[in-house]
Symmetry: C2
Subunit: 215 residues, 2 copies
Amino acid sequence: MTVMPDPSTAPPESRGERKERTRRAILDAALALCEESSMAALSLRQVAKEVGIVPTAFYRHFESLESLGLALVDESFVSLRAMLRDVRRSDPSHEDIIDGSIQTLVDHVHAQRSHFAFIARERAAGPPLVRRAIRHEIELCERELATDLARLPGNESWSSEDLQVLANLMVMAMVATAEAILAASPRPEIEQQIIETARTQLRMVLVGAVNWRSS
Amino acid sequence: MTVMPDPSTAPPESRGERKERTRRAILDAALALCEESSMAALSLRQVAKEVGIVPTAFYRHFESLESLGLALVDESFVSLRAMLRDVRRSDPSHEDIIDGSIQTLVDHVHAQRSHFAFIARERAAGPPLVRRAIRHEIELCERELATDLARLPGNESWSSEDLQVLANLMVMAMVATAEAILAASPRPEIEQQIIETARTQLRMVLVGAVNWRSS
DNA sequence: AGTTTCGGTGAACACGCGTTCACTGAAACT
DNA sequence: AGTTTCAGTGAACGCGTGTTCACCGAAACT
């Protein structure tokens, strides 16, 4: 609960290290507290109590709850980009590229549960600035995916607009799948069904993609 | 601001009519107030002030903010189902079925803006019970769409599971499109681009669907 | 005409909120 | 050793919160 280490057993810690530790504690507490509703229903005093500091000490780390929110957006998208990197790393020539990608998604959603939940929630309901920041980050992810898709063999004839549209569709399906997994857990049998659904959907979209323009 | 009619000009009004009028005013005020954040950041006193009644009078109509939320879910899904009915009404043999459906979506999103925004927001960030209610309603819509798809010619060979998965994909795209329209307004050129994107995506999915099983 | 019903009132309750300010005390620097 | 820096303190402010209660007065019923 408290940030203070036990002075008898704790190793020596510089001032900077302690500040960073409190900052982390604030971020974690905020992430945990807004899990049940939204950032909009989060109070400075709640966070401070959870961290184990007095309310005013909060201002030593963030100038407002909104800037805390923006920091959480940054942090959450580090997790999301790590996932995209893992998805990209898989061998594109492999047949199970769909299964692999979905498994990577599932793994990361479980490992960084709060970050993905934060993005899903605040994307629609966060403070205006937080909302904007999230939408912007997602748009960047779509553009990245679009350039990745452009490099894939067989896509030479695609216009960049169509690639962008396909990337948008895929990201939207990914976001929805992540949301569904979060809403389902911890019920493995429902989660398995969501995974099956996502797999089939990705295959359907893929079938649509390979027959595009040629139909 | 106030619910009270001017006694000099107002027509006579029964007790039941007045109660219903106040109830409506509460629903509208809540819808308007949580537009900028979420139900989670809504207070009874705020709503009462907006309606023009004293806070305690709220309890004459709803037993809590959460039950108000559930009433708003019901109301919002009346709008959504009205939209689905309009979509379904269009001639399925017509070539522009995609354009027609999307136009219907756009029209309804504009006409019932607050209802669609409410669903999009609270689906992810509302109080747990509200979230559950919305997810359940959306699932019902998916099942309805799946049975509709089953009646379409050329789908005889589809398994009911695949139809369900396709319906899920389409509803997910519809929800995302509605969200995008709400986030874009009032910028007509961006909205037009969203519509174009949705049109292309629906075509892609359709191409995938017609080539399903046969590929 | 007399009585009941009930939507709306207003005071009061204990508590949580964001923000201010002067402060403490140990770490970090000179 | 002496000074500065600064994360964390704690009291105080004015306001908003949900909920309770006894009360009012007009519509609705008998």
